[in-house]
Symmetry: C2
Subunit: 477 residues, 2 copies
């Protein structure tokens, strides 16, 4: 048939991730454990992605109770649920067409849920107003981002459209960009000192694009993934001035805004800083800010709820964005509802408030504890160096691999950190992702580990990592 020869070259262009190979190998290993042919560990610890409930963190009771009642409203007649749970479920059901979570909603989302999100954003940003017309909900924030990229990347322009993106970078965004026919212009975060974003490096990156591509946007991830930086107000201002001067659309991936635990760090949104800066910035910088129910203490990745807020975007462009979203009808209603619950949690005085706070605090404490403990433990390993983690869900330690390991990896036609990760998976049942998937700087090696896990899981994973690493270093030195 002719199709195989004809398919979209941009889709062909999407890079192959090493993590997919690891995932396949992990499935085989799990099968071997079930069959009894692997006995040296009882299960694979998978900290390759930010999937809090898989690492033993528990969903928030209030969230799950409300959702259960929305799915099966007969529960509203039972005694098992607190009054505020019932009220919230009733309120949410009233916002659904036909009173059912089984109905399509408006393209951008349920108006009342959007309204709740705008209130959350205003509160978060010290009162800066937020227009409901600027919010689009979709099944996950990544989907929002893809849709915006589709609008921004023009494959008919004389030079290929490009997006300035960090190195190291969350790979899915780069894959979406390539699938759209866009180019990635890398700017480096400086590892030393905590993966900071430097203005001069943005300038260098932009210049490197000159004549080769047409840069249309800048992508930032704050708090970071894979590197756990949390940008300061000053750093955000610098980025905003840069995009203003160079007329770039600003894509701010802020899905980890709820995950900040550096002692002196706090999350400030790009929107807030932009508005504080006043004109001309506040009136003209085009900003898309993404948030998600996948991350943070709520951790509901599987429900697929994310949104984008657009700022200063021309009405004509907004209309195109609307069209792109309309191609998929609407986001899953459970995803929309979980966004409502995330942005408008129980309040003091309500019956669910105490348990909600307790559960939330426990998760926060775990994150702070894990970030410190993991950094300390890894910095003790020979060849490891790990910047302090201020936020996000991940550690991204650098691993200086012995020359002999690098050689062996070359023989196996694997990037050296992939070689390390594959051995770690096979020998210790620990699944982490190699830095090569994040476009790390040439000649350096890293691994990415999710630390959004139960403390006991962290202990076990550190134990496995230590034992494996020492053995590995011995073998190859």
């Amino acid at each position: 048939m002719s199709a195989p020869l004809e398919i979209n070259p941009y889709v062909k262009n999407i890079q192959q991730l090493q993590s997919q190979k690891l995932a396949r190998r992990s499935e085989q290993i799990q099968e071997d454990i079930r069959r009894g042919s692997i006995t040296s560990f009882k299960e694979v610890i998978d900290v390759s992605s930010g999937n809090p409930h898989s690492g033993g963190l528990r969903p928030l009771t209030f969230v799950r109770q409300v959702l259960a009642a929305c799915f099966y409203p007969e529960l509203l007649d039972s005694d098992g649920l607190k009054a505020d749970v019932k009220q919230r479920a009733e309120k949410l059901l009233k916002t659904c067409v036909g009173g059912s979570v089984g109905c399509y909603t408006n393209t951008a989302g349920i108006p009342e849920v959007i309204h709740g999100i705008t209130e959350f954003i205003s509160r978060r940003d010290g009162g800066v107003p937020c227009d409901p017309q600027n919010i689009f909900i979709s099944s996950g924030s990544q989907w929002c981002l893809s849709n915006i990229l589709k609008v921004l990347v023009n494959t008919k322009s004389s030079l290929p459209c490009a997006v300035l993106s960090p190195v190291p970078c969350y790979p899915t965004t780069l894959m979406s960009l390539r699938a759209q026919g866009g180019l990635h212009v890398p700017y480096r975060l400086t590892e030393e000192g905590g993966w900071v974003l430097k203005g001069a490096e943005l300038q260098r990156a932009l210049q490197s694009a000159q004549g080769v591509s047409n840069p249309v946007a800048l992508y930032v991830v704050n708090p970071g993934n894979p590197a756990g930086l949390v940008q300061s107000r000053a750093s955000i201002q610098e980025v905003i001035r840069f995009v203003y001067e160079n007329r770039l659309f600003l894509l701010a991936d802020e899905v980890y805004q709820d995950c900040v635990y550096g002692e002196n760090s706090c999350f400030v949104s790009y929107k807030q800083v932009l508005m504080e800066m006043g004109p001309p910035y506040s009136h003209s910088v085009e900003l898309a800010s993404f948030h998600s129910a996948s991350k943070g203490v709520i951790g509901e990745c599987g429900l697929r709820g994310g949104y984008v807020e657009l700022v200063n975007v021309d009405q004509a462009v907004m209309d195109y964005i609307y069209k792109m979203f309309s191609l998929d009808s609407c986001a899953s209603v459970s995803g929309q509802m979980v966004l409502d619950l995330m942005t408008n949690p129980p309040q003091p005085g309500e019956p669910s408030y105490p348990l909600y706070c307790q559960e939330k605090e426990e998760i926060r404490r775990t994150l702070v504890h894990n970030a410190l403990k993991a950094t300390e433990a890894m910095n003790l390993l020979l060849g490891f160096s790990c910047q302090p983690v201020e936020g996000g869900a991940f550690m991204f330690p650098r691993v200086d691999l012995p020359q002999r390991a690098i050689q062996r990896a070359q023989e196996a036609e694997l990037p050296a950190d992939m070689f390390y990760c594959m051995r770690l998976l096979e020998e210790a049942g620990l699944m982490v992702i190699p830095g090569c998937d994040y476009q790390q700087e040439e000649g350096t090696y890293h691994i990415r580990i999710c630390i959004m896990v139960h403390e006991e899981v962290l202990d076990e994973l550190l134990r496995r990592l230590r034992t494996f690493h020492n053995k590995f270093m011995k073998e190859f030195s």
Copy 2:
């Protein structure tokens, strides 16, 4: 800023639907009803889309109970749920990473859910085997279809890639196609005799594309939307021979497979017919078949669960399709679970079986009743002619509008059936979609009405339509 000038021209190219204008007008009218400034009707009856629960059909109890228990597993300890509900919820939770619906799943979906879908397909198709590797689940079948189109449409090919698609056609597919830079080559369904698909018309359409575009695929909707045809085996065979001879990828939108109520019609899948035809067809025709939890008696549009089964697709292409799906992590877990419940319902002997059958039968009876009643009633209206509806969720009657109405519409710069629909909405509070949104044949006018509604809703909508229509015809004749 520069972005507005630079945006993706394919996105700009997505056609504007009249139904969006109607939806906005409907919101204003609902606001007026709340304010008391409209009193001639108490609410807008919205039968513009296939949203069964909004039309008063009820979700299936078994489905909602299992989902509630998956969201809030503490319910498994309560007495309120039947044993098979608990067993199913427990089984589904075990398939989730970390035992939580809050975790990302595999890109293509939860393996056990996929396995259940393959069993359903095999049963449906008289035992034809189905390979789990060929199934991809996503948040709605429309999303699957967009992903496949992205792979098939190559904007770098010398002639624009085109997909042969029916007239009238479900517009979202055409919008997705345009957003990808693809062209629509229309083939006409013959209204007289029930919107049949004729082989000669496919030939004509293909020839019309010669030299202008590069046809890569054929899109069929069976059972139809907006026209409620159900294809016979012979008609399907004809289509398969056509795509085989012309090396087209076959996109079979079969989301209404559960909605068949013509006396002599029954649903036969493209896959089954393809396999029955044997070689060379069965080994070489590339087929993508789409199904969804949105339609049929389950009617769970809001949960966003759909899948595609791919047949005879080259492994290299399958790898690209996998990459496209991986850009969005995974489908919402509630969408995946509802697919599991749809494809594997309660069985005889299980405690939920009797109620499940009763609820399902009631919905089926309603559909059969509605299709007959609405056809009869509309055929009595002056100027209306309505083909018998054999399946799907919609009627698509033709309306011969008086010349003066057509003139008035021209003055208002509206397609004449849009003019009619706007008046119907404003004067009778009834929201239906004009045929112009479906690329109907030039010079004809239609309206599309969802009949997946409660019988009482149908009665009221027919009453409103009759009163309005008689008044309209008087005014303009």
